[in-house]
Amino acid sequence: MAETKFIIGMRDAFFDALYRLAREDKNVVVITADNGAPSLDKFAQTLPGQFFNVGIAEQQMFGMACGMAFEGKKVYCYAIAPFVTTRVHEFIKLDVCAMNLPIVALGVGAGYAYDIMGPSHHTVEDIAIMRVQPNLKIYSPADSTCAAALAEISCRDRSPQYIRFDRAGIPNLYDDNVNVSGGLLNPIESDGDICIISTGIMVHQAVKVATKLAEIGISAGVSDVCRLKPVNIEALLDLVGNVRGVVTLEEHYLAGGLGSMIAEIFVDGNIFKPLLRIGQADRFVFDYGGREAIWEKYGLDVESVVGRIEHWYDRLLGKKRVQMREAIL
């Protein structure tokens, strides 16, 4: 069967790559809780016994996955991100992680990807709640090339995993040879003033922010934590050793998210590095008008992020930084 013609996002890139593996291994099974994808149709049409729709029943999806994985299957459970994380968290805890079974939760629509659909579909707590579960690996690809690469990595690995996809229409940051196995990618090398550490769609925002910062004399690298758990701590510490300060940028609650993880790593490693965490505060979002409207209102748009980093960096350097800027201007 032909590849999905219109690659609309990382989810479809992932399923296309997974399909190639599933054709060769009948133990690879996909269960969906009534969530579809153009790239998923060929599983249903051509791989009988490897595709199941249990209906809108996420507890059943993970419980059934547990039974199948227990018997030797490699099971992928697919739904919108909140429904494979918050909705079924105890099944993730007990049936997947505590039993350490080869089950991969696939959540589409991380962050505010389902922007106008309200808090029921927003997923800005998944990193916080999923990363506490022992045995679980967490991936957060920033584009379709990373997502496609994760198909083989996830299939080979017998650990419980969670992959959070964005929704659609995101341009590629990397080429097809991207190597995500190290868990950390550096779209812009950090060898100057600061490093912006991000994940998922926010890596794209970080690249734009870095470009703007360069215009006002702040040199910023950008790092993409495509594997959130376990984080590649060694690579991360190498990275931050070269810069004056670190910024984390995430479309997730500040509580428990990427910024929290970095702060924990700093504290545990006695790393005394200035850290600015940018993300969502302690609130639900009922604003409509699209993802950019949400970003603008809550300070996650490029201009707001640049402003916050500039202000923070000025204070970090004190007068010296102001003099430097005056010299540039």
Partner: protein, 298 residues
């Protein structure tokens, strides 16, 4: 045919062991272990299950899921008695270094999956049934559920799938003791009683199960109900057996009483319980002194 008198003796022995284990650590769900005792003994001592206690992972075994994980204390003596692990392990129940905890965990030889949070066993059982069918395996999947566990909605998600997919080798048994932690499921008289579960048989029939009701304390009814079950087709209606039982069966002060879900008998209560059990089994076996007075309940 296994002698029913022998099996009745094993069920009484299980109850005695359960009391000893619970009293030793002042913890454990005694009354639920008493309601399921004959069912578990029939499955293992009665050889309804295909198993090899020396090879717990033998692929041809029937899978047994104790979805009502709090009944672990009642399963351990049976597993030990049929050879999965030494009987001496029972003496360490819930103590430092023991493999046996209050809820059934998969680190215990003979126990397949983690239970303890209710509503997980049946979804898991559907996955095992599906995997077995995909791989052309003929073993059966047994799932023992508590009736109050059926308040958990995930069971009904699983029931929908099990009946749609026609898992003919799935056999569910409901320990229908009519009681949850603090209240009754159907004999609704107290404010703490739960919402009514009945008509349970009609509900399961409507989902597509074959439903049979039995006295869950009668070996003849259990065996008669399961007679020829191996002839059931791989693709067909899953079977659900509603086994009517009494919570605390065998100890007159506990039977059907609301207080005893998680209460351990002490002092005169302990003597009374052991007296009842000994009267039935004719055994004087005992190695624990239940001093003090009964506490707790939930």
């Amino acid at each position: 045919m296994i002698d029913h008198e022998y099996l009745e003796g094993r069920a009484q022995w299980v109850r005695q062991k359960v009391v000893e284990m619970a009293v030793r650590v002042n913890s454990g769900h005694i009354s639920t272990a008493f309601s399921q005792a004959e069912l578990i003994v029939a499955l293992y001592h009665g050889r309804m299950l295909n198993y090899d206690s020396k090879r717990p992972q033998w692929d041809g075994r029937d899978r047994f899921i104790l979805s009502k994980g709090q009944g672990g204390i009642g399963l351990y003596p049976v597993l030990a008695d049929v050879g999965y692990f030494p009987l001496s392990e029972l003496d360490l129940f819930a103590q430092r270094g023991s493999i046996l905890g209050v809820h059934a965990e998969w680190n215990v030889p003979g126990i397949e999956v983690i239970t303890g949070s209710l509503g997980h066993g049946l979804p898991m059982a559907t996955g095992m049934a599906e995997a077995a069918r995909l791989d052309g395996k003929q073993h059966f999947i047994f799932c023992l559920l508590g009736d109050a566990e059926l308040y958990e909605g995930s069971n009904w998600e699983a029931a929908t799938v099990a009946c749609h997919q026609k898992y003919g080798h799935l056999i569910c048994i409901v320990d229908r003791n009519g009681q949850g932690t603090i209240g009754k499921t159907d004999d609704i008289r107290a404010p703490a009683d739960g919402p009514r579960l009945n008509p349970l048989d009609e509900k399961f029939k409507a989902f597509g199960f074959e439903v049979r009701s039995i006295d869950g304390h009668s070996f003849s009814e259990i065996f008669s109900c399961l007679k020829n079950f191996r002839e059931r087709p791989l693709v067909g209606k899953p079977l659900i057996i509603i086994a009517h039982t009494k919570k605390g069966k065998g100890a007159s002060l506990m039977e059907d009483q609301r207080l005893w879900h998680y209460r351990v008998p002490k002092g005169k209560d302990f003597e009374a319980v052991l007296g009842d059990l000994r009267a039935k089994s004719g055994s004087s076996e005992r190695d624990v002194k239940g001093a003090g007075s009964s506490k707790g309940g939930y």
